[in-house]
Subunit: 246 residues, 2 copies
DNA sequence: CGCGCTATTGAGAGAGCTCAATGTGCGTGG
DNA sequence: CCACGCACATTGAGCTCTCTCAATAGCGCG
């Protein structure tokens, strides 16, 4: 029997959280009953803008989102990439004003959750509050790793590291098949994520390909030599905190 | 009448939180009753190490702490600086393993808080849980700003931006006097925070000084021209989320 | 068929790095 | 009170990673 639309969507969140913490049956029931408002975004479309004061946040159901800041004369830094099961703007629940913009990287389906509902749940169910808090902390852990790359890793290593990270994150939500996954970035957006120019990304990616580490074509990326990639990137997935807790 | 030592220390946290959210009398009472264990650290001493699984976190009472990651061959990225009133490793409450190291930047006094006590409080007082959650979100907001600097700002602007940030953060806890504050970094640690080499930091700082923006001597930094500094850095303090909420 | 977006390539320039030497201030011990 | 050691700061010179500018190529879609 097919699930209701709202159940199907909340299921994404449950699956994600359940992969990281222990959820009781009650927890699951509560999550399944959150009112959701499903919405589609086109690639490149802004969802919540820098400076706004949102009263809802969004759960990614399908496609990728990303967050970015703009500084003088069109310079852009991409702060994070978000895949299904994540709530990229959960911070807006406790921080009134957006200090960056959330947008769709590809065509994307998201489920909006009202802050009032989040408040109701976090007040009544401390364990669920803890789960959500934890998600925002993992977010921050990823920021720390990116900072380290931006400050101390060269272009080649930094790119390799990002590929490792996205591979592991997508694996965790079942979106990798045959070492292959959708990687819906343009070279320009990849450049903005890595703090480079698109010209240099082009050369860096070419090197990664010609060194036999990966292939990337038509928004599909395939890992050719995981071991070498991990070695190059000095990739240690601890910071993704995928282990269960609580 | 002098406060008890533990009251005096918890007061630091209350003052900090009260500057950002509304605390009820009950909230304050709860905070004042947290068992604390005060401890001193020498400059440079590690407090919690990468890979550890701490069962407590620490409130800064005096001095500065910092967090960092080490990568191959001694490269170091400083991820954050922490001043009195902050709880730099609060994330360890929900993330079992440390993905970075917390250390003392200067001689520092901290108050240790057991995770069990945090759990007791956050479970029973959702509003306080929210306050603490919010603190970790502000942490993450600062990460985002630093990432933007690391990826997209040049050395001069990045350094100016950090000075602006620390000025505002210290102002908020009353540690600025006459546009002057303690800035206990060496050029080497500043370099690791900015993702530069100490040689380049030396030249960058010289430029900031000779452009009449600031002075910095004997670990004391004075802002000479705040307006120009803000303009150079394109500094907008929104991301510090100093406005009250909730 | 042609427009628009994305990717690719070349060549020159520059911000920031590396290596290495020198300077400065301060605490310690004789 | 001076000598010494140590940590930190400063400076020079050459180098390289990444950027800028600009041109060309490929591809999907109306």
């Amino acid at each position: 029997m097919p699930l209701h639309s709202s159940e199907r969507t909340a299921q994404a969140l449950i699956t994600k959280l359940a992969g990281r913490v222990s959820l009781t049956n009650e927890d699951c029931q509560v999550l399944l009953n959150i009112p959701l408002h499903v919405r589609e975004y086109r690639s490149g479309e802004d969802i919540v803008h820098d400076g706004e004061t949102p009263n809802q946040c969004c759960l990614v159901l399908d496609g990728w989102l990303f967050r970015y800041k703009l500084i003088d004369e069109g310079k852009r830094q991409i702060l994070s990439l978000h895949v299904p099961g994540e709530i990229p703007d959960l911070q807006s629940f406790h921080l009134r004003v957006m200090d960056h913009t959330l947008a769709a990287l590809s065509t994307a389906t998201v489920a909006m959750i009202a802050h009032t509902d989040v408040r109701r749940i976090t007040t009544k169910y401390p364990h669920l509050a803890g789960c959500l808090w934890r998600e925002t902390l993992i977010d921050a852990a990823i920021f720390r790793e990116w900072m380290t790359g931006l400050g101390r890793r060269n272009a080649y290593v930094r790119a390799a590291h990002l590929v490792c990270e996205m591979y592991v994150r997508l694996e965790a939500v079942g979106l990798v098949e045959n070492h292959t996954f959708r990687f819906p970035l343009t070279q320009e957006s990849l450049a903005d994520a890595l703090g480079l120019t698109s010209v240099h990304v082009n050369r860096t990616v070419r090197a990664l390909k010609s060194d036999g580490l990966l292939t990337w074509k038509n928004r599909e990326l395939t890992i050719i030599d995981w071991h070498k990639l991990v070695t190059v990137a000095q990739f240690d997935p601890t910071y993704l905190h995928l282990m269960k807790m609580g």
